[in-house]
C-alpha cells in the first residue's frame, strides 16, 4: 500500500490527510516537530489570555487520529531525498514515502534588525512561540510591537490582558496600511487606542538594545527615539518556512514553488498552505498565509492525492479577523488605496465602531468588494452578489438579506440607505421589503447534513 507522508500538522496538512482518508485507504503519516496533535494556531492568543486551555484548541479529539488511521509522529525532518523517496529525521530515523506533502507553515519576518535575536524579542506563530511569550511576559511591564498587522493586534490584546503596556511601531501612515483604506484603519486604530494601545505611525524599528542582563531593554526607532521596553514583539508579517527543502531538489522561490494543483517540480511531492508559493504565469506569484486558504488548498490537494485531480481555485475572495472587539469581514476585493474605475461607497456610524465600504466599478456600478467592521455579513449572499455581478443599487436595496448579526441587534441598513440618499439627491433608494411572513412559512428548512 502506498504511503502518504505529510510534514506539518497545521490546518493545511491535516486537511490533506482528512480528505485523502475520505477517499482512500492509503497509509497516512503526519510528522510534526511542534505538537503531538493538531491544534488551531489562530487560538494561541486565547490560551495566553486564559479564555481556553491548550486542549480546547484541538479541533479533533485525540481518538480521532487512530480511528481514522492517521499516524502521528513527533519529530523534525532534517533531510529529504526525493530520488530515494526517503526522509531523514533529526533522530536519524528514516521514513520512506510514496507521496510527500510539505505543509511546513510560516516563520515570523525578521529584517536583520540589530538585536532581533535578543532574549525578550520574539514573533508569534508556533506553540513554542506561545511558551516563549509566557516566559518573556513574566515580569514585563512595557512592550513594543513592530509592524501593525493581524498578529500585531493579537499580541497587543494578549499583552494588555496581562496589564503590559503596548506601543505599536507602524511603518505606514496608518494601521495595516497595506490592506486597509484610511477610514477603516483609523477606526481600528481608535478602537485599539481606547483599549490603551499607543501607536507610532510612520515609524520603523532601527535597533533593539540589550540591557545589562542581556535581555532587550529598549528599541531605537528610525526617527532616533528610544523606547524603553522589556518585550519586543515582531509582527511584521510572516514568510514561508522552507528550511526543510533547502538541501533537496525541490524548487523554491520565496516559498515552495507549486502550480495550481499544488504540485512541486518533483513528481509526488506537493506543498500546501503557508509554505506554498503558487506560480502565476502572468503576474505575481501568490503566497496565501491564511487559515481559510490553507484549508481550501488542503481540500483540493487531498482530492488530487486520492486520485481525483483537483485544481485549487480560490473562488470569491473572503477574509475575516477581529481587532479587539471589532469584527472585520471582507468579500471580493477592496484595495487599500483608490484604483482606476473603482468607486467606493462608505458608511460609518457617527459614534460606534461600525462601518461598511462597498466598492464598485465606476462605469457599470457592478459591486467588486466590501469591507465591513462591526456588522456581520452572510457569506453566501455576498458570494452570490459578487459572482452575479450585482450592482450597487441592487446590493444596497437588498442589504438586509446579507445581515448576519445576532437577533435583536440594532440594524443599520436604513441608515446606510439614508446616507446614500443624502449624497445622491436625484437617486433615492429604498430597502426592499423584508418578506418575513412568507420567509417564515414558505421556505424549506435546512437541516445539518
Amino acid at each position: 500500500m502506498s504511503k502518504l507522508v505529510i510534514i506539518g500538522n497545521g490546518v493545511a496538512g491535516v486537511t490533506v490527510a482528512r480528505h485523502v482518508r475520505k477517499r482512500s485507504d492509503m497509509e497516512i503519516l503526519i510528522i510534526s516537530s511542534e505538537t503531538e496533535h493538531h491544534f488551531s494556531r489562530t487560538a494561541l492568543m486565547y490560551i495566553f489570555m486564559g479564555h481556553m486551555k491548550f486542549e480546547h484548541t484541538k479541533p479533533y479529539e485525540d481518538y480521532f487520529w487512530k480511528k481514522n488511521r492517521i499516524d502521528l509522529k513527533q519529530g523534525f525532518v532534517s533531510n529529504i531525498d526525493t530520488d530515494a523517496k526517503r526522509l531523514t529525521l533529526s533522530s536519524s530515523e528514516q521514513i520512506e514515502y510514496a507521496d510527500l506533502v510539505l505543509a511546513t507553515g510560516s516563520k515570523s519576518n525578521k529584517f536583520g534588525w540589530p538585536g532581533q535575536d535578543l532574549p525578550g524579542v520574539q514573533g508569534l506563530f508556533s506553540y513554542q512561540d506561545l511558551e516563549l511569550m509566557e516566559d518573556n511576559c513574566q515580569h514585563a511591564k512595557h512592550a513594543v510591537l513592530v509592524g501593525g498587522g493581524l498578529i500585531g493586534v493579537e499580541m497587543a490584546e494578549m499583552l494588555l490582558s496581562r496589564g503590559i503596556e503596548v506601543t505599536f511601531l507602524v511603518r505606514e501612515d496608518r494601521f495595516w496600511g497595506n490592506i486597509l483604506p484610511a477610514e477603516e484603519a483609523t477606526l481600528v486604530q481608535m478602537h485599539a487606542e481606547s483599549h490603551g494601545v499607543k501607536f507610532r505611525l510612520e515609524t520603523e524599528l532601527s535597533e533593539i538594545i540589550a540591557g545589562e542582563d542581556g535581555r532587550a531593554k529598549s528599541v531605537i526607532t528610525t526617527s532616533g527615539d528610544e523606547i524603553a521596553c522589556d518585550f519586543v514583539g515582531l509582527s511584521a508579517g510572516v514568510h514561508p518556512n522552507i528550511d526543510v527543502v533547502s538541501q533537496s531538489k525541490v524548487a523554491v522561490g520565496r516559498g515552495i514553488l507549486v502550480n495550481d494543483y499544488l504540485e512541486t517540480n518533483i513528481p509526488n511531492v506537493y506543498a500546501v498552505g503557508d509554505c506554498a508559493e503558487i506560480q502565476v504565469p502572468e503576474g505575481r506569484n501568490r503566497i496565501e498565509p491564511l487559515w481559510y486558504t490553507g484549508k481550501m488548498q488542503g481540500e483540493a490537494l487531498g482530492k488530487t492525492i486520492a486520485g481525483d485531480k483537483t485544481e485549487y481555485i480560490r473562488g470569491i475572495w473572503f477574509n475575516s479577523a477581529k481587532f479587539f472587539d471589532i469584527e472585520y469581514q471582507t468579500y471580493g476585493f477592496v484595495a487599500n488605496a483608490p484604483l482606476d474605475n473603482i468607486s467606493s461607497f462608505y458608511w460609518q456610524h457617527p459614534e460606534q465602531a461600525l462601518c461598511i465600504r462597498i466598492n464598485y466599478q465606476t462605469d457599470t456600478q457592478v459591486v467588486t468588494g466590501i469591507n465591513t467592521f462591526g456588522i456581520r455579513m452572510r457569506h453566501e449572499v455576498w458570494e452570490k452578489w459578487l459572482a452575479n455581478n450585482c450592482t450597487l443599487k441592487y446590493v444596497l436595496q437588498h442589504l438586509r438579506d446579507a445581515n448576519f448579526d445576532p437577533e435583536f441587534y440594532r440594524r443599520y441598513e436604513q441608515d446606510v440607505i439614508n446616507t446614500f440618499n443624502a449624497q445622491h439627491a436625484d437617486s433615492q433608494l429604498s430597502l426592499s421589503p423584508l418578506h418575513w411572513l412568507t420567509k417564515r412559512f414558505t421556505r424549506e428548512q435546512a437541516h445539518a447534513k
Binding site: 483599549h195 462608505y346 460609518q348 450592482t391 417564515r440 437541516h447
Partner: protein, 616 residues
Amino acid sequence: MQNNHLTWIAPVKKSGLSLFLVGFVVFVGMLFTNNFTLTESALSNAVGNDSHRQLIQPHLSDLIDTTVSNKVTFIETLRSTFSEYNNTLNDRYTISATDIEAIMSEVESLGHYELAILDTVFSGQNDAGIYKAKKLSDYTGWLAGPQGKPLSEIEQIVNEKSAEINVNVSDVTNGKRIYDYDAGQYLYAITKNASSGVVAQNVGLFFVLSVLLGTLGALMYIIPEKYTGPAGIKNNNVFTNSATNGGLIGILVTVFLVVVYIALYFFPEYIIEWVSLVDPMFKVLNGSGAGSWSIYGFIYTLAIVVMGVRMFIKYRHSNYHIARTASLIFFQSSFAFLIPEILIKLNQPSTDLKNMWPLDYDFFDAWNLDSLSSSGGIGMFILVWGITLFAVGVPLFTYFFGKRWYCSWVCGCGGLAETAGDPYRQLSDKSMKAWRIERVVVHGVLVFAVVMTGAILYTYFTGVKTLAGIDTYTLRSAYGFYIGALFSGVVGTGFYPKMGNRVWCRFGCPLAAYIGFIQRFKSRFRITTNGSQCISCGNCSTYCEMGIDVRAYAQRGEDIVRSSCVGCGVCSSVCPRGVLKLENGTVDAVIDQSKKDETVNIVQVMTAEEQKALVS
C-alpha cells in the same frame, strides 16, 4: 493599567468582594446562633396530630424545659428519640419475661392473682404499660381473686395468655408508629418552635448584615466591570482563576452548595435561622410566613437578579443576551416567586405557571389533581393550562423558535444556569464520551418520568395501587428522591463549579429531553454556520454550556441542529469571526436577475469626513 483615570475600579471591586464575604459569613454564621428550649406549648404547636403528640411526648420528657445551645445536639436528640420510639415500639408493647417475673413476684407475696397487680407492675411504662395492663386484664380477668390455684398454674396461665397477646402486637403498634414523613415534619416544626435566638429577635439587622450587605457587595464587584473598557467578549483569565477553572475555590463552592442542598432536601431543621430571616417578608407575601423552601426561593431569585445584572454588563454589546436575561429575571421573579405566594394569600391553589410536566413531576400526583379540580376556577385553569402548555405550547413554540423559547428565556432552572451559572459554562465536558452518557441518561430520566406518571395516574383513576407488581407510590417516591432531590438539586446545581452550569438541564431534565426531540426533528431553529469562515479556534465549543462540540459542525461548514442546544447564543457571541447565528428559518440567497443590473445616478462620492458632517 491602560486606563489610569479608572483607578477607582480595583478598590471598589475589592471592597465589594469584602462586603460580599462579610455578608456571606454572617449568613452562614447565623445558623449557629439559636438556642433550643422544648416547651409543652412548642410541642403541641409543632405536632398537630394529638395522638402522635401523646405518643411521643412521654419520650421527650428529658428534653422538656431544658435549654440546649448546641443545634446538632438538640436536633439529633430529637431525631434519635423518634427513631428510638419507632424501633423499640414492638419491644415495648410486648409483654416480656421481666414483666411476667414482676407479676409473679407480686402474686407470690399476695398468694393469689389480682388485676391490681398489673397496674403496679406496668405503671412505669407509659403508653405501652397501659396497653399491656389492659390486655392482660381482658385475658386474665377470670383468674383474679383467691381461687386457690397453685402459683405454678397461675404462672403458666399468665405465660400462655401473654404469648397470645404478644402474637398480635403489631396490630396495636402499627397504629402507633410515627412514619418517617411525619417524623420529619415534626422534627422541623419542633425545632422551629423550640428555637429562639438573636436572628428572630433582630430580623431586620440580620437581613441587612447578610442579604443586603452581600447583595451590595456583589453589585459593587459586578458593576465597575462596565467601566473597564469597551463592550465586548471578555473572558480573560477564566482558565487561570481557580473560581472558574474548577480549581480550589470552585471545589469549595461545590462543597458548600452540596451541603446546603442536602440540608434543604433532607435536613431542613438545620436552617431554621434562615427561615426566620425571611419569615416577616413571606408573612406579607402569602399571609402565613416562611417555610424551609421560602429562603431557597428567595435566595434563588435574588441570585438570578444580581447575576442577571452581571449578564447585562458582561454582554452589554448584545441585545440578544440582554433580552433573554431580562426575560429570565421577569419569569423568575413573577411567575416563580411572587405569583405563587400571592395565590396562597388568596387562598387559591398555588403553582408556578411557567413550570410544566415532566419537569414539574408532581403535577399529576393525586393530591395535586384533587386540589386543583376541587378548588374552583383558578384550580381548573391551572390544570388545563398545565396540560396545554406541555401538550400544545411546547410543540408549537419549539417548532418556531427552538428549545430556547423555554430553556434560556423562561425556565427557572435555565434562569439560574444562565445568570449565576454563567461563570461556569466553560466547565461542561465536550467529549464524545460525555455526549454518549448524556443521551442515555437524559432520555432514561424522560422514560422514568413518563412511566412514573403513567403509573400514578393509573392508580389515581383505577384505585389499584400496584402496576405490573410495582407499587406506584414507591415509584413516585423513588423519582422524587433520586431525580427530584439528588439529581436536579444536589448534583444539578451543586456541581456548577465542577461540571458546568447545565448539569441538570443536560443530563437530567426530562422536559429538556422532550423539547429536544422536537427541536432535533421538527423545528425551524438551528445555528447557521457562515460559509467556510470557521478558524477552528474552539471558543464556541469551550463556552457551550451544554457541552456541544459546536466547532465540529462549524469547521465543516454545517449548520448545528442538536436536541440539547438551549439557544443561549453564547457560541455566536464568543466567535471571533462571527461565524455562528441562531436562526428560526433559512434565508436563501436568491438573486433577482431582473433587477441585479439596475444602476443609479451617482453624482459624487463623499469622504468619511463629509459624511460625518452631513449626519451630525
